[in-house]
């Protein structure tokens, strides 16, 4: 009988020691990696998707017969004031984007639709951007841009964010970019984002870029 009691006690002791490992506390990392990643979808995906569509438009603008393969064209030449082109490709995530020429090397872009950030759900997103085309980079057809942007994204559980640039943000192309679709890696300017829950501002973020890629921007947050 004693033997069995000793064995039972030993088994309980083993179980007890197994159980204690659950007392650990999780990661206490100090980086806002998740918020930064969210911001990158605005700076490095949403904005550049629009810029890429403008550069696509310049390319097809030269070929009158192919202008309408990707765009609905109203007014003809893309660089003539008053001309409006609208993205009509079903496969383009920014279908419905309206691009209007407002002056020499100046356009506005307006988007209102469902847009995904990576593997997020598609949420209603509207963006209004004014663009100024600067000089062409070493890559033919790939330009430097100055933009201003405002937008809003309405997500689930009552969350909304409003993002904007108060001053021009520069999207530049360095010599490291080796092809015309290689993106923009010299970014300067500040993005602001307000996080709202049920109509109330609960947080704000800033994303300051100082002449490097968006990945190197300084992210900060707090009311």
């Amino acid at each position: 009988m004693k033997k069995y009691i000793v064995i039972l006690a030993a088994a309980l002791a083993v179980f007890s020691s197994c159980n204690k490992k659950y007392e650990a506390v999780g990661d206490q990392s100090k980086d806002n990696a998740y918020a930064r990643a969210y911001m990158m979808y605005i700076v490095d995906n949403l904005a550049t998707d629009i810029l890429n569509l403008f550069e696509d438009a310049f390319q097809v603008n030269a070929d009158v017969n192919h202008r309408t393969t990707q765009f609905d064209v109203s007014g003809g030449d893309f660089c003539t004031v008053g001309t409006v082109w609208t993205v009509n490709s079903d496969t383009n995530p920014m279908k419905g984007l309206k691009m209007e020429c407002t002056g020499e090397n100046r356009w506005t872009a307006v988007y209102n639709g469902n847009y995904k950030f990576g593997d997020s759900s598609s949420f209603p997103t509207n963006v209004s951007m004014s663009l100024e085309r600067a000089d062409e980079s070493a890559q033919k057809g790939h330009f430097n841009w100055n933009i201003r942007l405002t937008g809003e994204r309405t997500e689930n559980k009552g969350y909304t964010c409003k993002f904007r640039t108060d001053k021009d943000v520069t999207y530049g192309v360095s010599s490291r970019i080796s092809n015309s679709k290689g993106g923009w890696d010299v970014l300067t300017g500040i993005y602001f984002l307000d996080v709202m829950k049920d109509g109330k501002v609960v947080d704000y973020w800033t994303f300051e870029m100082n002449g490097s890629s968006a990945a190197n921007a300084i992210f900060s947050r707090g009311l």
Partner: protein
């Protein structure tokens, strides 16, 4: 936990074999009246309360700002006692413990987590139906119902709990034996492995 399960079954088998070798062979075996059983249950019932949590974070504000809850569930330990009323019927009770450690993570706040321990104790009177079988291998079924006590800081609770064992096996000797039973209820959803002592 696997090691513990293996240890328990090895102990039961070893002592069962020793005990069996000491018994007289031939003729019906007269079963002892009292029995204690110690079980480890897997897939504790409260596992179902765990929220899904993955390392890949969807870029959505609700994911960043809403708490992400993860429960780490411990196996359930059960101590049971039965008294033989009839050759096929035993009455008794089971006392169980299970618990989990809950971490609440707010990804927007630098992934800081807040830990919270939640413990459950169960006290369930039970009826055990035994099906006569071979001397060293027996089948049974159990029904148990009683109370569950949740011990959580600021949120203690007592409510009803039940546990059904549609089929269980005992193997080993007349005094010491091993158990394996399939069960479903508030205590364990899955299976229990244990050792028993009869006197």
């Amino acid at each position: 936990m696997k090691r513990l399960a293996i240890l328990l079954s090895a102990v039961a088998l070893a002592f069962g074999a020793l005990d069996a070798s000491a018994q007289e062979t031939g003729g019906p075996v007269r079963e002892k009246r009292h029995e204690f059983n110690l079980f480890v249950g897997f897939f504790g019932a409260d596992l179902t309360m765990s929220a899904p949590y993955t390392s890949s974070v969807r870029p959505e504000l609700s994911v960043l700002y809403e708490p992400q809850v993860q429960n780490t569930v411990s196996p359930t330990i059960t101590l049971g006692y039965n008294f033989k009323l009839l050759s096929f019927l035993k009455l008794g009770g089971q006392f169980s413990y299970s618990g989990y450690y809950r971490t609440t993570t707010y990804l927007i706040d630098n992934k800081v987590t807040r830990g919270e321990r939640v413990d459950y104790l169960y006290a369930l009177p039970e009826v055990k139906f035994c099906i006569p079988g071979a001397e060293h291998f027996r089948l049974y079924a159990k029904l148990a119902a009683g109370a569950r006590f949740r011990l959580q800081e600021g949120d203690d609770l007592i409510d009803f709990a039940w546990d059904v064992t549609p089929i269980g096996f005992e193997w080993g000797g007349k005094t010491v034996y091993g158990n394996f039973e399939v069960c479903w209820g508030n205590v364990v959803k899955g299976a229990r492995l244990g050792i028993g002592y009869r006197f």
